[in-house]
Symmetry: C2
Subunit: 88 residues, 2 copies
């Protein structure tokens, strides 16, 4: 993980929308797919990038894989950005 992957993950508009969707709680992959005009394979790719960056976690429950926002990574990024406001 690290900022590299986090910011790269956030630099794509589809992935930012996915993250916004997940603000209200976990959601299965298929339901996420339904919100976009893009193949499931593409969304799956985006989800794996978000997961790799630590921004989401996944939880397999039988047929479904639930994705959930991981706020601790969001906090790390917030911390870095906030530090820019102070001289070193």
């Amino acid at each position: 993980m690290g900022f590299q992957e986090s910011f790269k993950a956030l630099s794509d508009p589809t992935r930012r929308q996915i993250i916004e969707l997940l603000r209200n709680g976990k959601m299965p992959a298929g339901e996420i797919v339904d919100k976009f005009q893009m193949t499931g394979a593409s969304i799956s790719h985006h989800l794996s990038i978000l997961k790799n960056a630590g921004l989401v976690t996944d939880d397999k429950q039988g047929k479904y894989i639930y994705y959930e926002l991981n706020l601790s990574v969001v906090e790390e990024i917030l911390g870095w950005l906030a530090s820019l406001k102070e001289e070193k």
Copy 2:
């Protein structure tokens, strides 16, 4: 501008380092170049991406071009990230 360009700009490690350098105040392009093992042309390219994203401003004074961090864009990103902590 917009989040698209901001996050893309922040997704490169060289550009994040440039931003950290500018935490302590403005700096001319050449001095920034000196901090990296990369050609001036490449740094210039990175600076133009940061500028295009609104993350830095430039101020030409004779021979030198001073770059300065623009915290208002940092604040916008902070705002978006912070909003992820609240349900919609």
